[in-house]
Symmetry: C2
Subunit: 221 residues, 2 copies
DNA sequence: TATACAAAAAGTGCATGCACTTTTACTTTA
DNA sequence: TAAAGTAAAAGTGCATGCACTTTTTGTATA
């Protein structure tokens, strides 16, 4: 179970940043799930580093709400209540709606065409296990591209944060998605962006997120 | 310039949390301003503690965007571009608009009456230096109460975060507020909440924030 | 005087030690 | 057998040490 960190040399980044990435990955992949206890000392040993960078990484995860910690206690992977689930989507509706509105006038054609191409490929491909993996990648890229095209750094930051929560949820709830519907909604959004129709793009995005909200909330209640 | 930490005994909280509070206070009060360099080692010495809790506190401030740090360099108090200013208010409009909408049906009468009373007092008081202090307190309480009455923990958290940024801005721009207008807008919002008119409450709140946005953006460009 | 440069000072990132708290595992008791 | 109590093990929070990087300062050079 050892994961030596010396393999690659991301010399630019801090050890603590790399550890943050590793742990976030474990949470988003379900390797670490709700209620799991995460001991700083044990992790340090497992990763072959000292407690310090692990401590820093854990603190970041705590601040982002992926872990909870009480004083002198080991951090625990956060669990989501039905209300949390509802709220995460509600906030995404607001932020990503706005981002999509702004993206309509700002997203460059290259990105737009690239997204469209990937969507088309997914549409016409056998929906096997590998397809799901590709779809997840596309979904992430799609939402990220739009948030970025909003032109607002802060909006992007906030959207990333809430989408990460959404992805943690995704694991916990075992993806209640109707992937084909979701893909179809993405295409509707792309059409609106193509036409530079900000209002329609916003509404399609909000509708899209509301659809997953419904699915996830029903899974959680 | 020494500030010994031993004075009060917040025995429940961590040293790092208290230091976080102290530093946030310094930023929000203008004691530490944009571009200022904040050395972990020096601060530790000044506060009479080791680097560790200071390090943790600084990391939190960095994550919240109040400080920026590059690897191996001392953190710097963040400065706001005109775009940052615009964005902070834009996000507040979204989040606090939603919070206010929800608060209309949820805010208890006690809180509502309390806010109204404080507003009335401010309305009928001499607008001297002390008044400004009271107004700032009221403004904070007003927005916080509404965010809390939204019933959403996450919404509250996000609103607090962006309002803190707003307050940091406030210092930098030396409050371009027209306080009387602002107070008047607060009362309009209270009236809508009183009537449990969610849509109107939301619009009044958004209008209110948009007003400060205009003032602040013009200060910054 | 202004510029380049080198040595000293100070700083950050990570490792480790220590005091105290929580957790675990074992033993005793009903 | 199950509950309670307790000693050992492990954990967290903070202090400190060390290697390496950045910053400062003082000196020499144009």
């Amino acid at each position: 179970m050892k994961t030596p960190l010396q393999d690659e040399d991301h010399t630019e980044s801090r050890l603590s940043d790399r550890i943050h990435q590793i742990l976030l990955g474990r949470i988003l992949s379900g390797q670490m799930k709700s209620g799991d206890i995460v001991a700083e000392k044990k992790l340090a040993l497992e990763l072959g580093v000292s407690r310090t960078p692990v401590h820093d990484a854990l603190r970041d995860l705590i601040k982002d709400g992926f872990l909870n910690q009480e004083k002198n206690r080991r951090p625990v992977v956060a669990s989501f209540t039905a209300e949390d689930v509802y709220d995460i989507f509600e906030i995404r509706i607001l932020l990503e709606g706005e981002a999509c509105f702004r993206a309509a006038s700002r997203m460059d054609r290259l990105t737009l065409d690239d997204l469209r191409k990937q969507a088309d490929i997914l549409l016409s491909t056998q929906k096997d296990h590998n397809w799901l993996e590709l779809w997840a990648q596309f979904d992430d890229k799609f939402h990220h591209s739009i948030a970025k095209a909003s032109g607002s750094k802060r909006l992007l930051q906030d959207i990333i944060k809430h989408r990460l929560s959404h992805r943690a949820l995704n694991i916990q709830a075992e993806s209640p998605y109707s992937f084909s519907n979701s893909l179809q909604e993405h295409i509707v959004i792309l059409n609106a962006l193509d036409l530079r129709d900000a209002q329609s793009a916003k509404l399609s995005m909000q509708n899209h997120i509301r659809e997953s909200q419904t699915l996830f909330v029903s899974k959680y209640s």
